[in-house]
Amino acid sequence: MSADEQSMRRVTAIRNGTVIDHIPGGMVLQALQIFNVDGRHSNPISLVMNVPSRKLGTKDILKIEDRELTQEELDRLALIAPIASVSIIRNYSVAEKLSIKLGDEMVNVARCVYSNCISNSEREPLPHRLKVLKTSPMTLQCHYCGRIQNLERLVKNLL
């Protein structure tokens, strides 16, 4: 059994829901934030943190039962886990494999972290736009003010 398989089996298989693998080690809590999952959420959630990974060194795994994440929700995950792999589970089997689609720009995913950016003005109607400059390491730039975004702060500015 490979290290990745051992990691996956640290928690029990789920019947229905979404399994996200290859989240960079230590980032799974931010992933929960991205999916608006908090402690009061009723779906059972399993987390595996900081297990060895060939691709990433260490990785996290997230299993959310009875919820199939949409492509749009998954694309937001690109902020912290651009190479994560996602499986939709139905009746204990992988029904679909999804990948995160990262275009040249993230539109209305998060607000620019600089409070003085015009995009943080109240009621301005144009969309929040972040250009993807690089994916490794993930480097995002606000389309309007041109400033490079701090990802930890950006996760707190998710829309």
Binding site: N116, I118, G146
Partner: protein, 313 residues
């Protein structure tokens, strides 16, 4: 050429061409010759922050070329105080004018306005962001003094953190192979992300707090005001206010053709006794705002500038 938001909207060739255009337009800027290249065109001047030189020189540039200007006027007497968004203001003025000059306290405002408007936007300063038309007039001033803008030693002094003028200028100077010496107190250093970008573009930078030793080898000393209005707290401002003061005696052993520049207004960073030295270039620099903006307006409105102006009639 459409909007001018940052210096990245101009190639080096564009910059050289516009500087040559500005030179051709000098007789018109001085009022020696009349050529209404922009007759029938209207500039919308939208200044959401105080401005003397930039606003007036845009207005003068337009009028010298036979165009007209509409002004937002004081923000306090506009719809902005009623809560109008920048988007709506721009959409409105877009219908009233052929080109818009925008100054706004928020960074990114010019790009945002450009996304809302059909007419070109000239960024006349967006928060601590960019001020590319100022950079063009600075480059013009440097070219007038040194005959070139390449490979010079430029010392930038003062508020390098909040000063959008030096942000835009430093990007441009590095593109032309100038060596930059960045003189500021630690709290007002050029933002790290700009320093990193300049270095990535091959920029040769020296960072120091000490002004006087830098003067001897300088071709250009670019002084800036410590901007009280950009400090969140007055104590922090008072700690650095008045830290750099250039006086005529400091210029005793500088290069003959070294120029002292300043985007103005100055407070006390250049003593008035410097004004009468051959090095003072800041009032000429302010005048150059007119001729450079004339060239920019023509370029942004796709109005060709005749090869010869004045002499031949």
């Amino acid at each position: 050429m459409n909007s001018l938001i940052t210096m990245n909207d101009l190639t080096n060739d564009d910059i050289h061409r516009i500087l040559l255009d500005a030179e051709k337009l000098l007789p018109i800027a001085k009022g020696e010759f009349h050529l209404p290249l922009l007759r029938g065109k209207i500039l919308g001047n939208l200044f959401f922050e105080p401005s003397t030189r930039t606003r007036m020189s845009f207005e003068t540039a337009m009028k010298r070329l036979g165009g007209d200007v509409i002004n937002l006027g004081a923000v306090a007497s506009s719809s902005v105080v009623k809560g109008e968004t920048l988007h709506d203001t721009i959409r409105m003025v877009d219908g009233y004018s052929d080109i818009i000059a925008l100054r706004h306290p928020r960074q990114g405002a010019a790009q945002y306005a450009s996304d809302c408007a059909k007419v070109p936007i000239a960024n006349a300063g967006d928060g601590a962001g960019h001020h590319p038309t100022q950079t063009m007039l600075d480059l013009f001033t440097i070219k007038q003094a040194h005959g070139k803008i390449e490979n010079l030693n430029v010392v930038l002094v003062g508020d390098l953190r909040f000063g959008r003028t030096v942000h835009s200028l430093s990007y441009a100077l590095v593109r032309f192979g100038c060596k930059l010496t960045l003189v500021s107190p630690e709290s007002l250093r050029l933002p790290e992300e700009i320093v990193n970008e300049l270095k990535a573009q091959g920029g040769e930078l020296t960072i120091t707090e000490d002004l006087k030793p830098q003067l001897k080898d300088a071709d250009v000393v670019y002084m800036t005001r410590i901007q009280k209005e950009r400090f969140p707290d007055e104590d922090e401002y008072l700690r650095v206010a008045g830290i750099y003061k250039l006086v005529a005696n400091d210029l005793a052993s500088v290069k003959n053709d070294m120029i002292v520049m300043h985007p103005l207004p100055r407070v006390d960073e250049i003593n008035p006794d410097v004004d009468s030295t051959r090095h003072a270039a800041y009032f000429e620099q302010a005048f150059n705002g007119v001729v450079t903006r004339m060239a920019l307006l023509c370029n942004m409105l796709n109005i060709p500038i005749p090869e010869k102006i004045g002499g031949g009639k």
